[in-house]
Structures are given as C-alpha cells and as structure tokens.
C-alpha cells in the first residue's frame, strides 16, 4: 500500500516537473532574450545591476515599438554565480527555441560552465562582465563580451596607474582565491616589471574572510607604499579598514571588483584614498553616457555602475543586430561577429565596441578614486 502511494506521489512530482519544463517554452510572439546572472545568493547585488541596466534599455526599445514591430521579452535565469546552476540555466535557455540570444553570464566561472552548452546548441551569448581570458577560447565563436579582459586591467594598473598616477613603486597584493582575482594578479605582476613596480608580497584569501589582520600584519612588515585590493568590494572594504587600524596610511587601489557603493559604506573613512580602474565612468563618458547616468539615477535612485552600463549596451548591441538579421540564432551570431572593426563598431554609452575573433573587445579603462566618502574621477 505504502509503495503504491509513494510511487504515485513520485510520478506526480516528476510529471509536474515535466509540465513546468514544457510550459516555459512559451509562444514566440515576442523576441525572447535570456538574461543569466545571479539573482540570489551572495552575488545577487551584481545581478541587480545587470537587471537595472537591461531593463532601462528594454523600456527604451519597447517604447519605441520594439524591434521591427515585435516587442522584446527578457527571460531571467538565476545562476547564483555557481557553475552547476549556470549549467542548468544554460540547458534551459538552449532548449527553449524561442530564446534567440543570451546576455550573460555575470561570473566568469558561470560563463565557463554554460558556454559548452551554448556552443552545442548554437546560441550566442554576450557577456557584460565576464573578464576571464579563457572564455574566449572555450566560446568557439559563440561568445562575445563588451568588457575588457583581466589581463588588460592588470597590465594597465601596473604600468600606468601605480607608477604614474600614484607615484609609488612598492606594492603589496591582497588577492582573492578565485578566477577573476588570480587572473588580475598574474597580469599585474607581469606588467609590474615594465612599470618599474616591485611587489613586496602577495597574500591570498578565501571569499567571505572577515579577519585579515594576520595576513596584513605579515604584508606590512615589508613596508609597502600601496596595497592592491585584488578582489571584490566586500572584502576590499574590510581590508581597507583593518589596514588603517594597523597603521597603514598609503593609498589603496583595485579594479572593477571594488566598484560598488557598498565599498564606501562598509569601509567608511578607511575607504578614502582608494583608486580603481573601471570600464565606465559617467564623468568621462560622452554626452550619451552622461544622459544615461542621469536617467539611471532618476529611475533607480542610485548612481550608475559599470555593470549596468555594460548590460545596457549589451542589449543595445543585440537589438541592433536582431533588427538586421531577425530572430534567428545563427544569424544573430554571425551579425555579432560582423562587428569587427572600428568602422562598424557599436557606438554605445560605454564607448565604441567591436569584437575580435575570440569575441573579446578592446575597451579603455578609466580611473576613479574615493575622496571624502564619494567616488570621483581621478584623471
């Protein structure tokens, strides 16, 4: 008796799963684009940024009548910034034939996990934020991104920012043990030689560490002149605070991972005198960028960040391509690949975007700093 009941129950559950699997492949009246990012979990804050940027562009497109008369519809896929979930989201998007392109993923490890699925299914993905260099190889022509890669940022910091802007030569590195930070650290150290920068020490930490005092103490023994916050804002802010407590008064610097209002909120006074490279700076952007920044602030009540800006442009690029090629997966990929030189690059709010054979794009980096509790341009 119990067996029958359990079997029935199991059949019901499995059946429901099938039903849900089917009903998500909706009617293809609209042009459906998948947006994959973490919308829950520790990285949900970044996912919010992507949502904000994409939604702003979506409203623009649909208010103007859509693409060739068809409205654009976004399908959200929550990958929790985890490779396994990213695989599930990827499988879902790939299997849903009405989804013609994907914006995502946010985290490089998630993109790495999902790309084989997209390649197999022939679905183009354009990422606003995945900076890991390897993705270009794994993507096999189906991957594009409109952000710079980790090796570019690291080099830029080592050869430009530190020696010229900060005027310092001895640097201690504090890096998170993940793909983003390791790539960044490696390219920084490679560029350090040409910039005449000496690295006095490098300490790694795991995500979620809150107590950095032992490692900081160790690093400060060699008296570095600046500390490289090679990771994300949450830990960066804590490192800043604890470094100040231990008596370090030199400048701190980091990359796009530090670019978040919470860095200032958590770091407080210690966050001052921090420099960071970012892909987008409203002050330095052209009139289109400044207008976008104003609209963003008006809609969401907070300052624009580079992830939102990139995501906005991603949807813009897709819209432009789809207008020419129609909602066809292969044609969209070809259309994206055709944006391959300065002449036919996409002019967006983040500047000019065009892709090379691996889907990477060359974007300039801007520098901003924290002064008196606010982000300002540092040029």
């Amino acid at each position: 008796m119990r067996n029958k009941r359990t079997l029935l129950f199991t059949g019901l559950v499995f059946g429901l799963a099938l039903v849900f699997g089917i009903t998500t492949s909706a009617m293809a009246e609209n042009i459906r684009i998948g947006v994959a990012s973490p919308y829950s979990g520790g990285a949900a804050g970044y996912g919010d940024n992507i949502k904000a940027g994409v939604n702003l562009k979506l409203k623009e497109i649909n208010d103007a009548g859509g693409i060739n008369g068809k409205k654009v519809e976004l399908v959200w896929g929550d990958d929790v910034c985890e490779p396994k979930e990213a695989g599930m989201v990827g499988a879902k998007f790939a299997a849903d034939k009405s989804i013609v392109a994907v914006i995502g993923h946010l985290c490089s490890s998630a993109t790495l996990a999902a790309m084989p699925i997209y390649v197999r299914a022939g679905l183009a993905a354009i990422s606003p934020t995945s900076t890991n260099v390897t993705i270009g190889d794994v993507g096999k022509g189906w991957f594009f991104r409109n952000c710079y890669t980790d090796d570019y940022q690291g080099q830029f910091l080592a050869s430009n920012v530190v020696p010229k802007l900060l005027g310092k030569n001895k640097v201690a590195i504090f890096y998170e043990n993940n793909d983003y930070a390791i790539g960044l650290k490696d390219s920084f150290m490679a560029g350090a030689k040409s910039g005449g920068v000496t690295v006095t020490g490098a300490e790694a930490y795991m995500k979620g560490t809150t107590d950095f005092t032992p490692q900081l103490t160790k690093l400060l023994v060699d008296k570095p002149e600046a500390i490289f916050l090679c990771g994300y804002y949450a830990e960066g802010a804590l490192i800043a605070g604890q470094a100040r407590k231990l008596g370090f008064n030199g400048p701190l610097f980091g990359a796009d991972g530090i670019d978040n209002e919470d860095y200032i909120k958590i770091g407080g006074k210690a966050a001052n005198n921090t420099y960071l490279t970012v892909p987008f700076l409203a002050d330095a952007a052209g009139p289109a960028g400044q207008d976008f920044a104003k609209r963003f602030k008006a809609t969401y009540g907070r300052d624009v960040d580079w992830m939102s800006a990139n995501a906005y442009d991603c949807l813009g690029i897709l819209a432009q391509v789809i207008a020419k090629t129609g909602p066809d997966r292969k044609k969209i990929r070809d259309g994206l690949a055709a944006i391959n030189s300065e002449a036919n690059g996409y002019k967006g709010i983040t500047g000019l975007t065009y892709f090379d054979k691996k889907g990477n794009c060359a974007k300039p980096a801007f520098v901003k700093m924290v002064k008196d509790g606010k982000f300002v341009s540092a040029e």
């Binding site: 979990g41 520790g42 043990n177 930490y205 979620g208 809150t210 107590d211 032992p214 802010a237």
Partner: protein
C-alpha cells in the same frame, strides 16, 4: 610581528571560546552537536544591527537585548526541534540539527538579504577607535580591550553559574546522568532549556562582537565560525567548559600564527585538521573524558 599576530589570535580566540562553550554545554546535557548553534551566533549579530539601525536603540542596550533574543531562540530550537527527538537515535537528531541550520541560514537571507552588511559604526562608542595601549609595535585599541574584557567577564560569570548556583549544579547533574538527575527531583527538560538559553546568549554575544569589530555581517557567517568553534570544543575536550575556553584561545592563536607565518589559504583548514587529528588521536581532548558509547549510537 609576532606580538601583533598574538593579539590578533587572542581576539579571535576569545570569540571562538565563547561559541565553543555553547557547543560543549549543549553536548554535555543532551549529547547532541547542535549544528544550528553557529546560526544563533549569526542571529545575534543581525538582531543587534536591526535593533540599532531600525529601532534606534543605543549600542549598550542593544547588546544585552540581542543576547536575550538569542537565548530565546536557543530555547525555541530546543523545544520545537530537539525535544521531540529526545528518545530517538542520534542520527535523527543530527540530521535535524543540520536541517535547522540550513533553515535558519536561508531564513536570515530572506529577512536581511544575502549581501554582506556593515555594522553601524556610528553606534559604537567613540572611544573604541582610540588606542588604549601601545607596545612593541602593536596597537591595542579600546575595542580590543572591550572584547578581551567582555570575554573574560562572561567566562568567569559562566564558571560561577556552573559551580555555585543551583541551576549550575542541576546542569552538571543532568550532564552526568539524566535518569539519576530526574530521580533526585530535577526537572530535566527545564534544565536543558536553560542550558540552551545560556549557550544561545553567549553565542549571540560573540556574534555581536565579531560583527562590530570586523564590520561585516552575512547570513552564512555562522557556518564556518560554528565548525571552528566546534573544533575548539573538541580540542578542549567536549563536555568540559574550561576545556572549551582554552581550546578556543589555542585555536585562535594557532590560526593567526598559521595564517601569518604559513599560508593564509589553509587558514580554515587549520581548524579542520586540528579537529580531525584531535578526534582521532586524543578523543578526550585536553580536559574531557572519553564519552562511553551508549546504546543510542545509531
């Protein structure tokens, strides 16, 4: 550098001690590893922040208030999750503990969001920032002293409660032999709840101090801290309160020195390794007795 690392280690060690004591007390009376204890520590920090930011209660009042809330949480945990399983084999209770831990973690994520939160630093007394003493290249702020002081006071207080008060004696009796304790007229269930309350209060206090000192709160902070504190309790000898205190301090210092001199990546690994080695080689820890295997070992 060594002195600074020592100070770092003692700071975090005191915190581990406070959490470890909670684990050890609960294990003493109900022979259960309360996996959800780390979550009570986390809740302490979040309660305090909520009281300060949302209700505007000043720090000195929010601290004890949050501790009381954690005590209540501990009791509720006991009554609703563990008490019905008193007679069940340990496997069931262990699984329940893990289930409650996951439940509470995600509940906190839903209520407060999963992003790390800063502690409202303006609420802390201003003098916390200032240096109290400086020697050998080490700066000791008043905040450091506050943590040391509070930890010592609570440890001493706990010892007094256990040794001198009726409740303390009842707890020790229940830990030794539940049936006999019941026969002497002790209300075993109430004593157990009392133990949970005490453990919860201490854990909550630890959480508030960590949240304030390191300026970072997130719903999964109880997970790693909980395991490390358990390692400390094991090191000191599970069931022994002074052992847990010593174990906490030793583990904290070992961690700081290990992270400073060896490798910061295996920092958490130090605790796990210590735990495994101690359990395998000296299961009684430094002060404990080897608990006899009871029939309920399923």
């Amino acid at each position: 550098m060594f002195l600074q690392q020592l100070v770092n280690g003692l700071t975090i060690g005191g915190i581990y001690a406070m959490i470890a004591v909670g684990y050890t007390m609960i294990y003493g009376v109900v022979q259960l590893i309360n996996f959800a204890h780390g979550e009570i520590y986390m809740l302490g920090a979040f309660f305090a922040v909520t009281f300060i930011s949302v209700l505007g209660i000043p720090f000195y009042a929010a601290f004890p208030l949050a501790m009381v809330c954690c005590a209540v949480c501990g009791v509720l945990l006991d009554i609703f999750a563990y008490r019905p399983l008193r007679q069940s084999p340990r496997l069931a209770a262990l699984i329940t503990a893990i289930g409650m831990s996951i439940f509470l973690q995600n509940l906190a994520m839903i209520i407060w969001g999963s992003r790390p939160k800063p502690f409202p630093q303006e609420a802390l007394p201003a003098y916390f920032e200032k240096t109290a003493a400086s020697f050998g290249g080490v700066n000791l702020s008043w905040f450091h002293l506050f943590i040391f002081g509070l930890t010592i006071v609570m440890m001493v207080g706990l010892n007094l409660i256990i040794k001198k008060t009726r409740w303390g004696r009842a707890m020790r009796a229940v830990a030794q032999n539940k049936t006999m304790a019941a026969l002497t007229g002790i209300n075993v269930n109430r004593v157990i709840s009392y133990t949970f309350a005490l453990a919860g209060a201490l854990g909550g206090a630890a959480g508030i101090m960590v949240g304030a000192f390191y300026n970072s709160l997130y719903p999964t902070m109880g997970y790693v801290a909980g395991v490390k504190a358990f390692a400390a309790a094991v090191l000191g000898g599970i069931g022994s309160v002074p052992g847990a205190m010593l174990g906490g301090v030793v583990l904290g210092v070992a961690e700081a020195l290990g992270a400073g001199y060896l490798s910061s990546l295996y920092r958490d690994g130090i605790s796990y390794a210590v735990m495994i080695i101690v359990i395998i080689l000296i299961p009684a820890g430094l002060f404990g007795r080897v608990l006899k295997e009871t029939k309920k070992s399923m």
